[in-house]
Structures are given as structure tokens and as C-alpha cells.
């Protein structure tokens, strides 16, 4: 049991490191580190984006939550997918044409303001770390489930592997790694699902009554939670730091759109499977093993449905796939966190110290070390929340801060710098209330709990409205080159001078 899972996890880690270091030979300039020299086809880029995006929350979190709470959780994977449709329709091509690499770059380029850039950088770090925490904690849980080792081992393995892959090859190798990891994850979730379904079909007898678990919630609080979660996921996707970075690697706006359609297709296939584990778990795993967390439900399922070699192999496949999920999302986030630390913190510091000749790649490597060590320390200090809960909070923060900035920045010429800053501030403040209550475990009953626990339904509209109203009041604070910027965002590349 243990040995097979350890072997699967080691194989995934080894593949990641070796493909990562393979990229080292191909990447020379700093732009290779950041954006793979921008020469990646839509197909591979789509696999890479999907591979990076399907995190521990998708692989294990959704299955566990479906097992616990039933049909209403199906809205989570729907939101994760439809988020890309919203992103496609609203910002995919213009964002690529803006030439922004990070959200901070976009803020500076569109709003022409250094302070706003700094604000965006701090927010990016906050969202990325919030998203990194569950990945590291999940890795610890998965490894403990498979081997009994303490949780810090799994997190440490992820940190080391990601650091090697990110620092060694930068973006080009990460693109290869991520594209590979999508297919690892799909295989690892699909094969056990089919086998377990076959086992169930052979043994199953007559109708099963699932009771309320299988019926959608229709009380007002349930509806509020569903809609608010959907809004968070749909708007939040575009504001996730590791998603935007990937769009920069498309050659042009048209390819950015085509890549996004590819991503939606790949996610659609993947998300057919996690609920299968939830339903089968409901049938065959009435209770979790004592002392284990909800997020490891899928890993316990094979042993509950079958035994001997088959159970061992299926568990190993799932453990390997889950580890691929931790590795790929962590490396994607680490790349973007490293980008922010490098560009906004280390590079200016080094430039001041050494004149202007700081070596780009060296500073980037230091930045990637910081990008994995800080979340690792935090993941040891903070008590873990559920995987999908923490990830959804990160979406809610992005939905109430970066989403209004991106949407209004791309489509509304009258957005003023003051308006953008005020909207970001309001969105951040709302998100902090919700984050604080989640991490302090302060969850009131009834409406208050739902409204604070799932804030997007009011915080995102509030941030949008603030941006619009304050911009209207401060027309003199519109960025002077708004027209030029908007032209660049919306003009097809074929009409622009090369």
C-alpha cells in the first residue's frame, strides 16, 4: 500500500524535475524565464494552463465536498470552468495585446501610476499565498494518507521540487511541465473512476435513496451561497496571478482566445470525474477513517471498494495524480510570485546596490526561493481550512479586486486612477473581513455566516460601483494616454506596425 503510493509520488516528482531541468538548456535570456520567449502554440499553452489550474482543490477537494454536502458542490467545478468563459469574453485578447506580464504590469500600463502598481503587487502576493497554502497543506495530507509520514514532509517535497523546476528552467520548462501534468492528472483521475464504476456496477442492486443529499438546496441562504460562490469563481478566475501570466505566452490576441477555448474543453473533460468519487464514496464509504480529513476521501475510496493489489494500485494512481496537482499549481503560482518579488522588490534593491549590472537570472532564482519558502512557513503556522474553502476565498478576493480593475480597465475609457485605487481598496477591505472570519474560525449562524463566509455577491458589485462612482467624480485623474492604451488593447495585431 505505502510503497506503491510512494513510488507513484516519486515518479511524478522525478518527471517534474527532469522535464524542468531539460528546459534549462533551452532557456537563456531572462525573457525565456518569464514567458518562454513567447513562442508557445495554443494547444500546448491550453494544456499548460489547464494543468496549472487544476489544483488540489479540483482533484481532491471537490470529491470530498460532494461526498459531504451533495449536489450543490457541483457548482464549484462549473464555476472553475465558466470562469474561463467570462475571462475569454471580457479580457483574453485585450489583455494579451496590452503586453502585461503580471497584474501589476497591467495596473501600471493602463492606469499610469506607480503607487497603483505597488498596490497590485501586494494584492497579487496576497492572493497567490492564499492559493499556495492549501496546495502545500494538501500535499502534506495526501502524503500522510498514503504513507503515515508527518504532514511537513509532503509540503517540503513540493517546495523543493517546485524550486528546482522553477529556478532551473523558468517559464519555458514550466510550460512543458504543466502541459504534461494536465495529462497525468486526467489519467490519474479517469482510470480509477472507470475501474471503481465498473466494480460498483457489478455489485450494485436496485435503487439507492440518497435523500436530501442528492437534491439541490432551495432555501434562501442556500441560493445566496450558490450564486455568491458562482460569482466569485466566474469573476475571480481572471484575477488569479498564475492565470494571467500564461496569457502573455500567447503570440497574439487571436491565439489568446483560441487557447482559452482549449482550456475550457480540457477543464470540461476533467471535471466530469471528481463528482464520480463523491457519489461512489456516498455508496461505499459511510464514514472517513478516524483522524483523517475530508480532503483525503477520494484516496480512501479504493480501499473501501476493493482490496488487494487493485486497491493498492488505484490508490497509488490517485496519490500520484494528486501530487501532480499540488506540484503544477504550486509551480505556476511560484512563477508569478517570483516574478513579482523579482521585479518589484529584488531587482530595484540589487540595482541600487550594484549599479545596474545585477544579473537577471540570479535575482530571479533568489526570488523563486522566497516564493516557495514564505508560503511553506505560513502553511506550518496556520491551521488548515478545507482545500476548496481556502481556494474559493482566493477567488473571492480576486473577484472583488482585480476583476473590476481588469474589466473596467479594458472597456471603460473614463476609469480614473483615483477610481481604480478606491475600488481596489474597498474590494480588499471587504475581502479582509471575510478572510479574517475564516482564519479566526468565527462563523456565525444563518444569514450573517453566509454573507461573511461567501462575500463575492456583495463585495464584487461594491468594488465595481466604487470604481465607477469615484471615476465619475475625478475626471481630471484619468490617465493621460487612455486613448492610446485602449487602441492598443483592441486593435487586431495585423493592423499594427511590426
Amino acid at each position: 500500500m505505502q510503497l506503491a503510493s510512494v513510488f507513484a509520488i516519486a515518479a511524478v516528482a522525478l518527471a517534474t524535475v527532469s522535464v524542468g531541468t531539460l528546459g534549462l538548456r533551452m532557456s537563456r535570456a531572462t525573457s525565456d524565464f518569464y514567458v518562454a520567449g513567447r513562442a508557445i502554440t495554443p494547444r500546448r499553452n491550453a494544456s499548460a494552463i489547464a494543468g496549472e489550474y487544476l489544483s488540489a482543490a479540483s482533484f481532491l477537494g471537490v470529491a470530498g465536498l460532494v461526498w459531504q454536502r451533495g449536489i450543490d458542490i457541483l457548482w464549484f467545478p462549473i464555476g472553475y470552468t465558466v470562469g474561463y468563459l467570462v475571462l475569454l469574453v471580457l479580457i483574453a485578447a485585450p489583455l494579451r495585446r496590452s503586453g502585461a506580464y503580471t497584474l501589476s504590469d497591467f495596473a501600471e500600463l493602463r492606469m499610469e501610476s506607480r503607487p497603483l502598481r505597488t498596490f497590485a503587487s501586494v494584492l497579487t502576493l496576497g492572493i497567490a499565498i492564499l492559493y499556495l497554502l492549501p496546495q502545500l497543506q494538501g500535499a502534506g495530507l495526501a502524503l500522510r494518507q498514503a504513507t503515515g509520514w508527518p504532514t511537513w514532509v509532503g509540503a517540503a517535497v513540493v517546495v523543493v521540487v517546485v524550486f528546482i523546476a522553477v529556478a532551473a528552467g523558468g517559464m519555458r520548462s514550466i510550460t512543458l511541465v504543466q502541459a504534461m501534468q494536465y495529462w497525468i492528472k486526467l489519467t490519474a483521475i479517469a482510470i480509477p473512476a472507470f475501474v471503481l464504476l465498473a466494480i460498483w456496477a457489478r455489485g450494485h442492486t436496485g435503487e439507492v435513496d440518497f435523500g436530501d443529499w442528492a437534491i439541490p438546496r432551495t432555501d434562501p441562504i442556500g441560493l445566496y451561497t450558490t450564486y455568491s460562490t458562482m460569482l466569485a469563481l466566474c469573476l475571480g478566475t481572471m484575477g488569479l496571478p498564475h492565470v494571467l501570466v500564461r496569457f502573455y505566452t500567447n503570440p497574439d490576441g487571436r491565439d489568446a482566445r483560441r487557447t482559452t477555448v482549449g482550456v475550457i474543453g480540457l477543464l470540461a473533460v476533467f471535471y466530469l470525474f471528481p463528482p464520480v468519487y463523491g457519489v461512489l464514496g456516498r455508496l461505499h464509504l459511510p464514514q472517513l477513517a478516524p483522524g483523517t480529513r475530508l480532503d483525503t476521501m477520494a484516496l480512501q475510496l479504493p480501499a473501501a471498494m476493493t482490496d488487494g493489489l487493485l486497491a493498492t494500485v488505484l490508490t497509488a494512481i490517485l496519490a500520484g495524480g494528486a501530487f501532480a496537482a499540488f506540484l503544477s499549481t504550486t509551480s505556476g503560482l511560484a512563477v508569478s510570485v517570483a516574478g513579482v518579488i523579482d521585479q518589484d522588490v529584488l531587482r530595484p534593491l540589487l540595482a541600487r546596490r550594484t549599479g545596474d549590472d545585477a544579473r537577471g537570472a540570479t535575482s530571479y532564482r533568489w526570488a523563486s526561493a522566497l516564493a516557495v519558502v514564505i508560503p511553506f512557513v505560513l502553511s506550518r503556522v496556520l491551521e488548515p481550512l478545507g482545500l476548496a474553502t481556502t481556494v474559493t476565498l482566493a477567488f473571492a478576493v480576486a473577484a472583488s479586486t482585480f476583476a473590476p480593475l481588469l474589466v473596467l480597465g479594458v472597456w471603460w475609457p473614463r476609469l480614473s486612477t483615483t477610481g481604480a485605487a478606491a475600488g481596489l481598496a474597498v474590494g480588499t477591505a471587504c475581502a479582509l473581513v471575510s478572510l479574517g472570519s475564516a482564519f479566526l474560525r468565527w462563523t456565525p449562524e444563518g444569514w450573517a455566516g453566509a454573507v461573511i463566509g461567501q462575500p463575492a455577491a456583495w463585495s464584487a458589485p461594491l468594488a465595481f460601483t466604487t470604481m465607477v462612482v469615484v471615476s465619475r467624480l475625478t475626471p481630471h485623474r484619468r490617465p493621460p494616454h487612455t486613448n492610446r492604451t485602449l487602441n492598443r488593447l483592441h486593435t487586431p495585431e495585423s493592423l499594427l506596425p511590426p
Binding site: 450558490t226 470540461a268 463528482p275 487602441n487 487586431p492
Partner: protein, 127 residues
């Protein structure tokens, strides 16, 4: 009559030099775009409005198709318990059918928005 025999004429044929005449091709309006003229801005605003209309109608369609589901489950109790063959309808709708619908919407959007851009390039090309 041989050319040599033609009497010298005062009349000179005047033609425009092909090389110096301003070309009525893409460059002209494309320059308007890159030179930040009011006309260039106007062209791009037109494209932006068309794209925004497309985006808004697509999002509206998504909200109607997807966003109505929880309400429908709430106000039409039969849909909650309905079955599609051996499987419960809400599970099939939320677990499976939603995904191909999203892919189709995305593909439709990409085609439509590429058409808008192609038309724009075409107009600029003729200008």
C-alpha cells in the same frame, strides 16, 4: 504615317506619376490608428462597442442558461426529482450537460469576435 513625319506638337500628355501619388491602401487608416488621430480613435471605439455588445450578449445568455438553474430547481419542485433515464436530472444537468454547453458558447464567441475583427481589418484596408 511614320513617327518621323508627325508634326511637332505643343501639346504634352500629362499623367500622374504612379510613384508619388498617395496610395489609398491600408497604410492610410492604419496610420490614423498608430498616429493617435481622432479618426483613428473613432474607428477603434466602433470596434470596441461591437465587441462589448457581443461580450455582453454572450454573458447574458450564459446567465440565463446557467444562472436560472438554481431558481428553476427552487420554484419547480418536479425538476428536483425528475429523472433522465436512470439518472436524476439535476445531476445530469449540473454534472455533465453544463460542460458541452460552455464549450459551445466559447467556440461561438471566438468565431463571432474574429469575424468582427476581420470586418474591421477589411474596412481599414479599403479606407
Amino acid at each position: 504615317m511614320s513617327p518621323a513625319a508627325r508634326p511637332p506638337s505643343d501639346r504634352v500628355r500629362v499623367t500622374a506619376s504612379r510613384g508619388r501619388a498617395p496610395r489609398h491602401t491600408m497604410r492610410a487608416v492604419a496610420d490614423e490608428l498608430s498616429d493617435q488621430t481622432a479618426l483613428g480613435d473613432l474607428y477603434v471605439r466602433g470596434l470596441m462597442r461591437a465587441q462589448l455588445r457581443l461580450a455582453a450578449s454572450l454573458l447574458l445568455l450564459t446567465v440565463l442558461l446557467l444562472g436560472s438553474l438554481p431558481i428553476i430547481f427552487a420554484i419547480v419542485p418536479q425538476t428536483r426529482e425528475a429523472r433522465l433515464g436512470p439518472l436524476p436530472l439535476p445531476w445530469v444537468a449540473l454534472g455533465v450537460l453544463v460542460y458541452p454547453a460552455t464549450v459551445l458558447l466559447a467556440r461561438y464567441y471566438v468565431r463571432a469576435s474574429e469575424r468582427l475583427e476581420a470586418a474591421f481589418v477589411d474596412v481599414i484596408g479599403r479606407g
